[in-house]
Structure formats: structure tokens, C-alpha cells
Amino acid sequence: MLRVKVRETAPGSARHGGHDVLVELAEERTTTRELIRRAVEEQVRLLGDDAARRRDMRDRRYLLAAEIRAQAATGAIRLPAAPPAPPDVADAVARAHQAFERNAFVVFAGGRQLDRLDEEIVLRPGETVVFLRLTALAGG
């Protein structure tokens, strides 16, 4: 059992309080495919938690003092909008794998860019994983 820190830098992001995401892996030796799969699963789980919290506030129809304090730090206090329907995990994982293969994003682990889905990698505790979206560029 290994917990890997995934860098997630948007503090106060609507997705979840802006902390780095921890992804659990069964062992240090893994593949890019597995790393992406676990990251997606964790992300969907966090979204689910967030959705549950939002649903909770909406069902109650008002905010608690602690929620107001937490929201004040982000600069806006409001009842959250209705959360979107939770995605299907298997589908989300498959789409992430496809997106990786057409270079929609890149993954860095242990200071190295991962090239292939089936590439074997060894992650050590304390090493950070970074997912980055790529934007297609052209000379202007």
C-alpha cells in the first residue's frame, strides 16, 4: 500500500478545497495505465464527496457557521449549485486513457515524463505526480 501525492495547485478550486490529492496504489511498481486509473477513481470519489456535501447544504437549504467560515476564505459565500450527476468510473477511466494516448495531457512522475500507457514505473514515497493538460500550439 502506497500513497502518492498528486500536485493539484488550484487553491479554493470548486472541485475540492485545494489540497493535494492522495492516490493510493497497491504497490510501488505500477504502470502509467494503473496510475491514471487510480487517479481518476480518486477524483471521481472526491467529486462524489463534494457532491454529497453540496447536496447536504441544498437539502438543508442554509449554511452552517463552519461552512460560512470555510467559504469566506475563498472569497464567496453562497449556497452551492446543484452538483452534476456523478460520472461512470469505468467510462471516465477509459476516456482518460484515450486522452493520454492522443497527448491531451501528460504525466510526470519522479521528475520524468511518462511516455506510454504500459510503461512500468516505480514510485517512491514522497515523490510527486503531476498531471498537465496540453494545449495544441502552432507558430503565429
Binding site: T9, Y62, L63, E67, L134, G139
Partner: protein
């Protein structure tokens, strides 16, 4: 010949033949050494060209088809007038014909090599400073180069001061620029605006103009083509000449308002005494633009109409402007009814006629067309038979409802026009102001209808449920669920429905117009206002559902606070500050209170740490692309005015008497013309930027609420990118990220990432994303397609927080492996053969 449409081909050929004949003449003169003849011929060539290249002759196709003729002329004139010293500007300028060689000498003298018509300003400055009369004259007389209107007038001023301003210079200056009079000044501008300071040369120039104007327009037929524009002649003779040709509009426009002395004015009055009524009226019309038409009123038999004429002229506005009805009526009284009628025939005025009720049908038509001054005039119409103040009030409210459909900025002027009309109606009704009118009318709506209607054996009434008027029908004390057919069929049922509709409109007006504003600004009501509001059914229903603060600072519902002093609607910021927000939210839910507008549940926006650090600018919503049309509508509905792409700010909204919120956006052309990227928000007071911490928190919160609404409703990017508060500056964030990636070729240096690529070393700026190729190059790389949505539905914890971060990171990664770049547009910039 190139590109000449068939219809002009013959004309162009004829003109070219004529010009070639002139070239032949020039050659003969040159051979004979007749320099004076050549100078004259140059003028003839110029005139021939001007008429030959005109639209009705060759459609402007001659100019592009005379390179050979120009070259031939250049040869002749360069040969006959050689320049001995190209460094002497006077000699270069002193030429009858602007040959290409001379133009090049001039261009290099003023440091504008390559310009075919170089600016003369540098030489003009030199000549004015040195008081060089010869050079000054040449600067105006030369066919070479080009000088701005103000410069020409300054040259003429300098010549005038030196006593050397002659007719030749004046004529050439006007021949080059018929509108030179604009910079000569000294007479009132069109539209009656104040006179500008006349130029020093003005007296001499105007003497010349007066003489010219008199000569050119002498019988038999006036020749207007040679007369410079703008300038107004001086002297009664001009006004009389215009009077003698009553059907000559040109004459009327140019000479009718001629400048008169007081004596001349009296002479004009004397002159008109033994003329026909027709001529007197025409003289009046001619003098209206001059501003002294009132002296003619006695001779027109309207001695008492002077105040009315002044009033008519002062109220001639296209915008809706508040008028004083009492002043209009007083002026009309002084003119007499018949006098007023005749004056308005001479000089029509929509508002004055409206105040007298003389143009009701026309005004109503103008209101239908949403003409602003028409709407304002509508309020001034006297009440027609049977019409009540309330009828007119409701009609104006209907007009007001059309505003939002009229376009983002027009709706504001429409609303302003309705406000003016309400003020006018208050004057008609004899009430002190529009507020009072509003209260009275709204109260009357509520009380006017009888309590209940008896239809057959049913009782029909309108009851309020949460300020929403609902129709109730009961029989024998039992309330029915639906309206029975007998009731529907009764003619009185329409009255019930109308009453219900009026109450509904009243509730809507109160909610959107007054309560919303009260809560959004944390506004205050005096005990008097509160009392009047509570007399209205809608007020009775809405006010108790709001949270208030009384004079002693107690916060509560209306029945929990003291009402003997002013009460303030509690903005959620007040509740938050007092740590009462959670309490009141829970309390409202517990008590099942439905608020008429969002108050306790109103979205509240506070300063973020990033905004505190940035001091006077908020980038909270910066970088969000929004649909311009939708965003424009949302903003204007919230009191914002939108502006163009080249204005300093693209949207502004006054938030308090002193403070304006100003939003910068990236857009093309005008707001609503396409996609808009929301940018930085600032607050301005008296033109300078105010630190965010000094902006009243309520105002700040409401402005941010507007913008949040805009980006969430009009946003064009998927929710994955939505509302990332920029907590850290992008550069810091990127620097930390790039360190994390462990890219061997990349180091972070301040706000730049330095990439040591295989083709070059690049410096990527982490705020703007611009790429410099060291030592001194620039590499332009842009997103391949805008609004790419490839990442829309990926559920991964991405480290890049917005599109710009992603773009900059993608650039760094691209350059990090620059040996793999295949895009020819990038390689070409790196001087690599593709």
C-alpha cells in the same frame, strides 16, 4: 491601362490624351526656356487632373493610369528647375511641380525617407522659430509634402505677425483645404456651441473671405465651388443677399447667419418694415442659426414671444431633458395663445406643443417608436377628457417595460426618458416630485378597486399570497378550487382580472425596482416611506419577510425592531460581519419565510488574500471567455454600460455617488459582437483607481455578484475550468510546477522559464507566455485553435489551473523538446529550413 472598368475606358483614354498634349506643351516651353510659362502650365495640369480624376468623369481611375505621364512631367520639370543645393529646404520647396526627386529630397530633409508626401511640420517649426518669411510662404505655396490644418494656420499666423500674409498664400491654403476655417475659428460652432478663440490671422483671412464671398456670389449666378467652407461672412449685405434669393438653400445656409453688428441688426429690422409677411418670416428663419432671431419678433407682430422663443431654442434637445412646465406656460401666456401658435409654426418645439396639448397624436406616435424626447414630452401632455393621472402613470409604466428589449445601452437612456416623463407628469398633476407621484399612483392602484365582486351567488376577490395576487372565488363561505364558467362569462370578470394584473405589475415593480435596490445597497427607509409602503398590498406582503436594522442597531424582522426611526435593509455583509448570517439563514428556513428578493441567501463576495495583495485590482474572473451577446444583456440589466474594444474599460457601472466599477475585457469591435474574455476589475473615483480594501464591502460584493453571474451564465468554457480564484500569481505557481517536473533543460529565473533547447535558448515569460529567443529574438507560438474543448470531461487532478497556465506549460514542454518541432511556421521563425 490597368483595371479600368469598360464604362470609364473612353474617359480615361481622353483624359490621358489631354494630359499628353499638356506634356508636349511643357516640352516646348522647356526648350524655349520659358520658366514662367512652365509655372503656369503646372497649375493647368493640376486642374486638368482634379477634374479628370473625379468620380463622375473617370470614377477615379485616372490616377492609377498615369505613371508614364508623371514620369514625363518629372523629366521636364526636373530639367527646367534643377535643385542646386538639396540641403536648402527653401530651394527644394520652391517648385512648380512635385517631382518624385524633389519629394525624395524633402523626405530626407524631414527624416522621413521613403514617404511620397512627407510631413512639413519639422520645417514649419523651424521656419516659425526663425521667423523665416520666405520659407513660411513656401511651406504654404509648395506642391510638395503635406501639413496639418493647425500647422497651416500657425504658419499663416506667423506670416500675419510679420506683416507678410498675402492673398496668394491665403488662396493656396484654402485651395488645399476648403475646411481651413475650422482652425481659423472665431465664430460659434455649428449647434450654437461657444465661440473658439480666433487665430491671429483671422481678421485678414476673413477680410479676404468676405471679399471673395461677395465676388463669387454676385449676379447673375453664384459660384459656390470656389468658396471655402465653414467661415461665416460679416455684414448686412450678405444677409440681404440671402433674403433676395428666397429659394437658394445654399445661400440661406452660408449667408443667412452672417455676422451682424448691433447697428446692422437694427438696419435689418428697419429693412423688413416695408416688406411682405413672407419675407419677414424668411428673415426670421435665416437668423435662427445666428442666434439673434428674437430681434425680429416685434416686426413679425410677436413682441411678447421673446421668452417663449428663448425657451424653445433652449429646449431643442434630442435627448429627454426635464422641462419646467410652469416656465413653459408662463412664456406662452406672455406670448398670447395666438402668438404662441404662430411662433411654434415658425419654430416648432415638441415639448412646448406637448405642454399645451397641441400635438397629442404626434407625441403618442413618437412614444410608440420609443423616441426619447417623445417619451419625455408624453409626460407633459395635459390630461385629456376622462384621462386620469393614474391612466397616464400606467401607460408610462408600460412604456418602461419595453426598455430591456431595446439593446444594452439604449435601455438606460430609455429608462432615463421614462423618469423624465414621470417628473413631467408629476408637474401636470401638481405634485412636488416624481417620487410623490409614484407613491400616490401605486396607492391608488391598491385602493381603487372595491374589495370584492358579487357575481351571481359567488364572491370573487383578489388576495395576496406572498405578494402574488391570486384570484379567489367562494360560495356560501366555501372557497372554490377553480373559477366557475358563470363567473368567467360575466363581463365584470374582466375587471377582476384587470385588477389582479395591476396588483401583479405593482408587486413586480416593487420587487425589481425598489426592494431589490434596497437590499442590494443596504438602503434606508424613513418612517414616512415605510408607512406609505406598508399601505400597499405588495409592501404589506414583502416588507415583513426582510431582515432590517433599526436606528439602535437591532437586527430583526420588521416586527422585532423599532419603527420610530429610519430602518435599513440588512445586506448579507452586515449579517456576516455580525456573525449572524448562519443564524438568519437557519431562522428563515425554520420560519418558512420566503423572501421577495435574495437577502440572507444572497451570494456574498469578500476580498480574497490575492485581491488584498494586488491592492487595487481583482482578477477573480479574469480569463473567462463569455458569450458577448448574453454577457452584454446580463450586464446592462444590472446597470452596466458596455463600451468598445478601444475604450479604456469595456464595461462600467456606477456603484455609489463617487465610485464606478470598471471592467476591462478583451473583445473585438463592440461588446456583444462576439466572444468576450473577462479581464481585470477596478474601482474608480474621480478618474483614479481606488484600493479594493477601501471600496465599501457591500458595493464590492454586488459588483462581484454581477460578474459571477456573467461568467457562470454566459461562460463558454466547460465547468471543469470554472471559477478558479487566482489565489497565487500565475508566475509563482508555474515556477513551483516547473521545478516539480524536473526538466533537465529548464530552469526558473524570476518570472521566466529558461529553456536550453537544442536549436536555441528560450525565455518563456510566465505571466504573459511570450517567448524570447536569446539573445534578441522573439518567437510567436499560439494555441492552434481557440476554445478547444478536448479536456472537457477528464476527471483528473490537473495541476494547471486555467487555460493560460496550460498554454504556457505547453509552450515550455514544446521548447524543451525543440528538436521534435515540425511546424514550419515555428521553424521558419527559428531560421531552420523546413
Amino acid at each position: 491601362m490597368v483595371d479600368v472598368p469598360g464604362m470609364y475606358a473612353d474617359a480615361v483614354r481622353d483624359e490621358r490624351d489631354a494630359l499628353w498634349r499638356l506634356v508636349d506643351q511643357a516640352r516646348v516651353l522647356a526648350k524655349a526656356g520659358d520658366l514662367a510659362g512652365l509655372r503656369d502650365l503646372a497649375g493647368e495640369v493640376r486642374r486638368r487632373l482634379a477634374t479628370g480624376d473625379s468620380l463622375d468623369r473617370t470614377g477615379g481611375h485616372l490616377g492609377a493610369n498615369m505613371a508614364d505621364i508623371s514620369a514625363a512631367l518629372d523629366d521636364v520639370y526636373d530639367g527646367a528647375f534643377p535643385v542646386r543645393d538639396p540641403d536648402d529646404p527653401a530651394e527644394v520647396l520652391d517648385a512648380p511641380w512635385p517631382t518624385v526627386r524633389r519629394a525624395a529630397m524633402l523626405a530626407s530633409a524631414v527624416d522621413r525617407v521613403g514617404w511620397p508626401t512627407p510631413p512639413l511640420e519639422p520645417l514649419a517649426e523651424r521656419a516659425i522659430a526663425a521667423n523665416d518669411v520666405r520659407l513660411l510662404r513656401l511651406l504654404v505655396l509648395t506642391p510638395l509634402g503635406r501639413a496639418g490644418r493647425e500647422t497651416v494656420v500657425r504658419i499663416m499666423d506667423a506670416l500675419h505677425a510679420a506683416g507678410a500674409l498675402d492673398v496668394e498664400v491665403i488662396e493656396k491654403a484654402f485651395a488645399d483645404d476648403a475646411y481651413l476655417g475650422r482652425a481659423i475659428g472665431g465664430e460659434p460652432r455649428a449647434g450654437g456651441a461657444g465661440a473658439s478663440t480666433p487665430a491671429g490671422c483671422a481678421p485678414v483671412v476673413r477680410d479676404h473671405f468676405d471679399a471673395l464671398a461677395w465676388r463669387l456670389t454676385s449676379p447673375p449666378e453664384p459660384d459656390w465651388d470656389e468658396l471655402p467652407e465653414v467661415l461665416v461672412p460679416r455684414g448686412l449685405r450678405f444677409a440681404l443677399r440671402a433674403l433676395d434669393r428666397p429659394h437658394d438653400r445654399r445661400m440661406a445656409e452660408r449667408f443667412g447667419p452672417a455676422e451682424l453688428t448691433d447697428d446692422e441688426r437694427s438696419a435689418l429690422v428697419e429693412h423688413l418694415r416695408d416688406r411682405t409677411a413672407e419675407e419677414r418670416r424668411y428673415a426670421f428663419e435665416l437668423r435662427l442659426p445666428a442666434g439673434d432671431a428674437e430681434v425680429l419678433l416685434p416686426v413679425l407682430g410677436l413682441p411678447g414671444a421673446v421668452p417663449l422663443l428663448r425657451l424653445v431654442l433652449a429646449t431643442a434637445a434630442t435627448e429627454a431633458v426635464r422641462q419646467d412646465r410652469a416656465a413653459i406656460l408662463a412664456a406662452v401666456r406672455q406670448a398670447g395663445d395666438d402668438g404662441a401658435r404662430r411662433l411654434l409654426e415658425l419654430c416648432p418645439s415638441e415639448v412646448v406643443a406637448a405642454a399645451l396639448g397641441w400635438n397629442r397624436a404626434a407625441v403618442e406616435k413618437r412614444v410608440k417608436r420609443n423616441a426619447l424626447s417623445g417619451i419625455a414630452a408624453f409626460g407633459l401632455l395635459p390630461l385629456a377628457g376622462g384621462e386620469t393621472v393614474l391612466d397616464r402613470y400606467l401607460a408610462l409604466r408600460e412604456v418602461a417595460k419595453r426598455g430591456p428589449r431595446l439593446g444594452p445601452n439604449r435601455r438606460h437612456s430609455h429608462a432615463a426618458a421614462v423618469a423624465v416623463a414621470l417628473d413631467h407628469l408629476a408637474q401636470v398633476a401638481g405634485l412636488p416630485d416624481a417620487d410623490r407621484l409614484e407613491w400616490d399612483c401605486e396607492a391608488r392602484i391598491a385602493t381603487e378597486a372595491p374589495g370584492d365582486w358579487r357575481i351571481a351567488d359567488y364572491t370573487v376577490g383578489v388576495r395576496l399570497s406572498d405578494a402574488d395576487p391570486v384570484l379567489t372565488v367562494s360560495r356560501a363561505g366555501r372557497t372554490l378550487k377553480s373559477v366557475p364558467a358563470t363567473v368567467r362569462a360575466d363581463p365584470r370578470y374582466a375587471d377582476v382580472r384587470e385588477h389582479q394584473e395591476r396588483l401583479r405589475e405593482q408587486a413586480r415593480r416593487m420587487r425589481t425596482g425598489m426592494i431589490e435596490r434596497l437590499v442590494a445597497t443596504g438602503g434606508t427607509l424613513t418612517p414616512d416611506e415605510l408607512l406609505r409602503l406598508r399601505r400597499l398590498p405588495a409592501g404589506r406582503a414583502m416588507l415583513p419577510a426582510l431582515i432590517w436594522q433599526d436606528r439602535a442597531g437591532t437586527i430583526g424582522l420588521l416586527d422585532q425592531i423599532a419603527l420610530d426611526g429610519p430602518v435599513t435593509a440588512a445586506h448579507p455583509f452586515l449579517l456576516y460581519e455580525r456573525r449572524l448570517l448562519a443564524h438568519w439563514q437557519a431562522e428563515l428556513v425554520r420560519r418558512r419565510i420566503r423572501q421577495p428578493v435574495k437577502q440572507a441567501f444572497r451570494e456574498l463576495y469578500l476580498l480574497t488574500p490575492a485581491e488584498r495583495d494586488a491592492v487595487d485590482v481583482s482578477r477573480r474572473f479574469a480569463g473567462h471567455p463569455v458569450d458577448g451577446r448574453v454577457a452584454g444583456q446580463l450586464l446592462s440589466g444590472r446597470g452596466w454600460s458596455t463600451h468598445g474594444g478601444y475604450d479604456e474599460h469595456q464595461a462600467t457601472r456606477p456603484v455609489t455617488a463617487e465610485l464606478t466599477a470598471a471592467l476591462a475585457c478583451e473583445l473585438h469591435g463592440y461588446f456583444g459582437g462576439g466572444d468576450v474574455v473577462v479581464g481585470e476589475l477596478r474601482f474608480l473615483a474621480a478618474g483614479s483607481v481606488v484600493p479594493l480594501a477601501e471600496v465599501p464591502p457591500v458595493a464590492f460584493s454586488e459588483v462581484m455578484r454581477d460578474l459571477d453571474l456573467v461568467v457562470s451564465v454566459a461562460g463558454t468554457e466547460p465547468h471543469g475550468y470554472a471559477s478558479p480564484p487566482h489565489a497565487a500569481s500565475r508566475a509563482q505557481l508555474l515556477a513551483a510546477l516547473i521545478d516539480d517536473l524536473g526538466l533537465a533543460r529548464v530552469t526558473v529565473d524570476g518570472a521566466s522559464a529558461v529553456v536550453r533547447g537544442s536549436r536555441a535558448t528560450y525565455r518563456v515569460h510566465l505571466n504573459s507566455g511570450s517567448i524570447h529567443v536569446e539573445p534578441g529574438g522573439y518567437l510567436c507560438v499560439v494555441p492552434a485553435s481557440f476554445g478547444d474543448t478536448a479536456h472537457r470531461s477528464l476527471f483528473l487532478p490537473f495541476a494547471d489551473e486555467d487555460r493560460m497556465t496550460s498554454v504556457i506549460l505547453s509552450k515550455v514542454l514544446l521548447l524543451n523538446e525543440d528538436e521534435k518541432i515540425t511546424d514550419p511556421a515555428i521553424l521558419a521563425q527559428l531560421d531552420v529550413p523546413a
